[in-house]
Amino acid sequence: MAIALVLVLIVVGSVLFHFLSPWWWTPIASNWDYIDNTIIITFWITGAVFAAVVLFMAYCVFRFRHREGNRAAYEPENKRLESWLTIVTAVGVTSLLVPGLFVWSRFVTVPSDATEIEVIGQQWQWSFRLPGKDGKLGTSDTRDVSADNPLGVIPGDPNGQDDVVVEAADLHLPVGKPVKVLLRSIDVLHDFYIPEFRAKMDMIPGSVTYFWFTPTRTGSFQVLCAELCGQGHPLMHGMVMVDTEQDYLAWLGQQQTFAQLSTPQKTGSADQTPDRTMPSGLKVAAQLETVGSR
């Protein structure tokens, strides 16, 4: 008997937990509220099914529990009931799938006015590259990665010379402008994930993946790595600042291009250190070293 009561309590408790608990998604900061809406639809439909099934079960257990002299009914099947249940389920599933696929087609269709930026993951830090004045990113190759060229930009490509290189520092983005994020890794799989933006995608060494979004509010957002990439995985944080247009341009003006970085340092630019709020990969590695030797 206790089980019937517990089943009811599980449904009531789960629903109350859903509405009352403080654990919920972070306030959204991108255009992907479509995704949030799809999740809400899914919660309603699945929640209703869960409650219905478990409550029905609780009722059965209570009503048809064994008592002396009871005998079960004999009913091998019921074609009509089964067909109806199948149809209702199919309708429910379709109503989840169709909005989902609509939003997915938006997700994979990048608007033509999106600015391309590149995110490069490596163990265990984030770097970024923005197209320079020509609006084009130069090509890249992992084989060209070296101490002077940490992102592996192909030196001979004229498109790459004016690219803005942000190595292991914070990325700034202007608010309200769609961005196509090209993702690249020079060692293992990583995943560029900012919970507030909802979107994420793996980066695969040897190929370039992408996703797009439009930041909708200013602020600073933490980047997390969402694909296991070795021991430093949980420490692979980064920071993206969404700025107003003026702030963004001011920040952009302070950045160095690939050509500037690869020519021998001239006076005046040497004292410009990028503004970092997060540890770089080598620092993470050093931190792990100390943890390991504890």
Binding site: I35, M57, R71, L85, L101, V108, Y193, D202, P234
Partner: protein, 589 residues
């Protein structure tokens, strides 16, 4: 009702006596035994032992997550080794081995009315190779550098690189070798299970008279035979990448400023191979559970399983569909995004037959005569956890919803609920149900109820709130949850709560183990058919069944497995081997 055929009008079964190897010594009877029942117990004992290791590993992980920074010995390196071994052991070496090697070996010959598996010698080899695989796996704990910490998915390139524990040491090599051995051993066993169902069935046991347990295990084994080769291929190729420097999966890599010799390989290729195995694997674990739970519900509700035909079709349909959904594990892997449309559709379609199964379980309860025995309690708990986990699968299978949720704690909560807790709960229910047949004694009722309540409620309290951590964006596989802006103070408290629950639930399993051992000697005598069940394993002349299972003559089957509460019959059950359309003439032995 169809005409009654008198029992003596049926010609004797034309089943040729199987060539059984009768044991001559203690060694061949209990160690190198070819008796499927002994092999089943060997499989189960080995799987349970290694499963206990995985349980302890989960405790260690929860110590770190629940109380970060408190336990110095859990370094990030150790943490990743714990999660990897925990996942791999639970999925492959515990659940797959227990359902197919354990329950499959014990139940298939008994339920289809065979004396043994069709190839007993190969069956014995299967166990010993499995044991070898387990030993190789365990040896990696003692190898230099420790076991691999690549995550149970073993994604290259990181799995074989120095930034991952065991990647450039012995860990990954032993892991891959162990998997290769496991697959070879499993294939030997799997051939037996499939061919025994095809060819070993006794007179009158048509496919549509099989208990759903056999249908579930049979379909799961067919799937496993076709899916494990994908893992085999992936393991062999990765082993070559690691040891001989080939570039199947390894692209050009600049690791910490150093160029590695590999070139051009495709990490995505590995993911395709891995999930081509990995998704069917989910159903390889789930289908036997589906089958077993159907039989538990039917027996203990004293009612035939509702919609038997639908249940069979659903099992076959799920088995077939599960081969075309694999890439839903790869929505954010960077594969061609247009695949998402196809795989989201197939994934959501598979929800329909799965839902039908749930409805039929619940409808079996309707107007039943529900005995709230421990197996029945576990079956009810299975429906709750499985429905919960299945429904969150609709989030993750719907490609765009998966984007924010993938690789977060939501995924962890989902798959633990649906393929961790739910199948394990069925395993418990099944053990309480069949233990009397295996040992001749009942498990202790009080300890059993304690075990049930703590396990069911505890597991629900662990994994239900965990979904909401994932919704917040907390990623999985994080050895440290510090320095994260999304982690609120209360989220850390929730993590501590989950960890404490994990310890309590783990402790309850020790009670269960105690019960298993204690009841062998001290349990109540069970008799041959304590649950008054219809299927053939309960009709054996001896309990526990002797070698050869059915004494001199094999049983002849006259009816399906679910003749409970048949109108007009005296008893509320009619065993499958009782002739005639009405009441059984005598009590079964």
């Amino acid at each position: 009702m169809v005409d009654v055929t008198p029992a003596d009008a049926v010609p004797p079964a034309e089943v040729g006596e199987m060539e059984l190897y009768h044991p001559h010594s203690w060694w061949t009877k209990y160690v190198f035994s070819q008796d499927a029942k002994v092999i089943a117990i060997q499989y189960s004992a080995t799987a349970t032992s290694i499963g206990l290791v995985a349980l302890v590993l989960s405790w260690l992980m929860r110590l770190q997550l629940g109380f970060p920074g408190t336990f110095d010995f859990i370094t990030p390196e150790a943490y990743y080794q714990f999660i990897t071994m925990h996942g791999m052991i639970m999925v492959i070496y515990l659940l797959t081995a227990l359902f197919l090697g354990g329950f499959g070996n014990y139940l298939i010959p008994l339920m289809v009315g065979a004396r043994d598996m069709v190839f007993p010698y190969v069956n014995m080899l299967s166990y010993w190779i499995y044991l070898l695989a387990v030993l190789v796996l365990v040896s990696s704990f003692f190898a230099p550098g420790g076991p691999t910490g690549a995550g149970w998915t073993l994604y290259p390139p990181q799995a074989i690189m120095s930034g991952t524990p065991g990647g450039q040491d012995w860990g990954i090599i032993l892991m891959l070798s162990s998997l290769i051995l496991f697959i070879i051993g499993f294939t030997m066993g799997g051939l037996n299970y499939v061919v025994t169902v095809l060819q070993g069935r006794t007179r009158g046991m048509t496919m549509m008279r099989l208990p759903l347990t056999v249908w579930g295990i049979f379909t799961a084994t067919v799937m496993a035979l076709l899916a494990f080769p994908a893992l085999f291929v992936a393991c062999v190729m990765m082993l070559l990448d690691r040891t001989l420097g080939t570039s199947f999966f390894m692209p050009a890599i600049s690791e910490m400023g150093e160029q590695l010799p590999h070139n051009g390989g495709s990490p995505i290729l590995f993911q395709h191979l891995f999930w081509f195995f990995g998704h069917p694997e989910v159903y390889i674990v789930a289908l036997p559970a589906f089958g077993i739970v159907s039989d538990l519900i039917s027996t203990h509700a004293r009612k035939n399983i509702f919609g038997y035909r639908m249940m069979v079709w659903a099992i076959v349909g799920i088995g077939a569909l599960s081969f075309v959904v694999w890439a839903h594990h790869m929505y954010v892997s960077g594969m061609n995004p247009y695949f998402g449309f196809f795989f989201a559709t197939t994934t959501l379609i598979i929800a329909v037959p799965t839902a039908i199964k749930v409805y039929n379980w619940v409808l079996t309860l309707w107007r039943g005569d529900i005995h709230l025995t421990i197996p029945m309690l576990f079956a009810l708990a299975f429906i709750v956890t499985f429905v919960n986990g299945g429904l969150t699968g609709l989030f993750l299978g719907n490609v765009v919803v998966d984007v924010p949720l993938s690789d977060t704690m939501f995924v962890v909560a989902h798959f633990h609920m649906v393929m961790g807790v739910a199948p394990i709960i069925v395993v418990f229910g099944a053990i309480y149900h069949w233990y009397p047949k295996v040992t001749g004694r009942m498990l202790d009722e009080t300890l059993g109820r304690f075990h049930f309540w703590v396990t069911f409620l505890g597991a629900y309290l662990i994994f239900f709130p965990m979904h909401y951590l994932g919704l917040m964006g907390v990623p999985r596989r994080y050895a440290e949850l510090t320095d994260m802006t999304i982690m609120t103070e209360s989220a850390h408290h929730l993590n501590s709560f989950i960890s404490i629950m994990a310890f309590i639930v783990g402790f309850a399993q020790m009670v269960f183990l105690f019960n298993l051992i204690w009841s062998i000697r001290h349990g109540r005598e069970a008799g041959g058919n304590p649950w008054r069940a219809t299927t053939l394993e309960w009709q054996t002349p001896q309990t526990p069944p002797a070698h050869g299972n059915f004494g001199k003559d094999l049983p002849i089957v006259y009816r399906w497995a679910y003749d409970y509460s048949v109108p007009g019959a005296k008893e509320d059950f009619i065993p499958q081997n009782v002739p005639g359309a009405f009441a059984p003439s005598r009590e079964p032995a």
